[in-house]
Symmetry: C2
Subunit: 282 residues, 2 copies
Amino acid sequence: MQKIHIIGLGLLGGSFGLGARQKFPELVISGHDSNPQNLKDALTLGIITEAKETPDADTDLVILATPADTLGDLLLQTLDQVGENTLVFDVGSTKAKLCALMADHPKRKQYLAAHPIAGTEYSGPKAAFADLLNRKVNIICELEKTDLHLKEKAYELFDALNLKLRFMDPEEHDRHLAFVSHLSHASSFMLGQTVLQRMQDDKNIFDMAGSGFASTVRLAKSSPAMWAPIFTENKENILAALDGFIANLTDFRNKIESGDSKGLYEEMAEINKIRDILDLGK
Amino acid sequence: MQKIHIIGLGLLGGSFGLGARQKFPELVISGHDSNPQNLKDALTLGIITEAKETPDADTDLVILATPADTLGDLLLQTLDQVGENTLVFDVGSTKAKLCALMADHPKRKQYLAAHPIAGTEYSGPKAAFADLLNRKVNIICELEKTDLHLKEKAYELFDALNLKLRFMDPEEHDRHLAFVSHLSHASSFMLGQTVLQRMQDDKNIFDMAGSGFASTVRLAKSSPAMWAPIFTENKENILAALDGFIANLTDFRNKIESGDSKGLYEEMAEINKIRDILDLGK
């Protein structure tokens, strides 16, 4: 592996660049970002060594790390530009639409659908760091549709970055992620919104906020440019997750309203099971 | 200050004991917990040196750290037991009902209403640690109703533990806390519930959970014995907070359903202001 090209030099694309450079110092890493300041920062920070819009035909790997709603067009365009020994993978948070789009594409074998479960509430190249991907889960969809030899190039990078691979259907991926990632972001944003609205009456309300509030509202700092497209791209699954969440909250507020201490206690004791489940995952 | 007595030897009561012992090694610390195992653990861990149900009449300070719905009766009972040089303070998460209960009490001057904003998702004496209260906000209500000299005893301890005092009305306290603490706990529990329900169909759903999910669901590990009473004691304020949250979630899901990317983007960009507000508080 000698050359990689990264399109979208934000938190995730940028961290791929920094991680790849650390593990393969000889690698030529070029890249592009539609935001000129991001592109400039990516050069300064050493995420890429060369700014160019289009990957060279002999690039080994192209990584697509732009917002979810731009990936379809970008993928089609990139496959047109690269030679037959290039593998293109995206790192988007939704997979079903992309896989459907690629189903009958003549270069389907040169595409790998990936989703590393890694991020922070910050965005842009300055938020990127080489260790972001270390020991994170990387979900791969429809791996059998990708060329075996080309796939090795991506696996070489994933291994070097210590990514733990998991395999699943794109539909299953999108359904799962709606519940364990997208819902958390929607909830965090709306929690932030609810307290901000309250602040109009109580200016000092945030003074009292403890670590619990900070923890639940952290994701409300996330990038709207990344998240608006995820919510609309994965609409059906996210609506199912949100509707379940709203129904549970409504049931819980009704228990509070009727003073049902026993019901509240029992429900929370049942949910406490999540302790073991979350700790197992460590 | 020579003698303190702690009733309720869980995370918060236990941490007061460990913190006090560290700062005042000569202090005699007795205490009680209605759970025999907690009492035994508190002795083993050195939170208290003597187990006794009732504080000595010459105790300087009595700290009440039991669930919110038990504090009223416990406070009345404790004030009956102590001498006139004892100050009693509670550390409960709701303050309005307690202050109302004490309004015309003949020993009102011996009571201080306090609420240190400190905790973790764990509970019981084993979760306690000496540093828990370090640099945390401690809200004091109706400070003018407490005897000036007796209050000094509590302040001596608060200063030693590095607590930062804030003063507000009990009603204001309860309203604020509903939004910046109690709502976060309800949201976290219901988020946990929603994903647990989903797990019935997708056994491996938690494998994909990243740090964002862990952060938003952390509080769902909290103690139901502590939280069921808080939700019912602070009912009106929590219902207002939950209703606002549910309305915001419903509005957000409707924007998603109608594919209103621009509306989603703008709303999230507005909520991003919380970055500056939260960072200011650091």
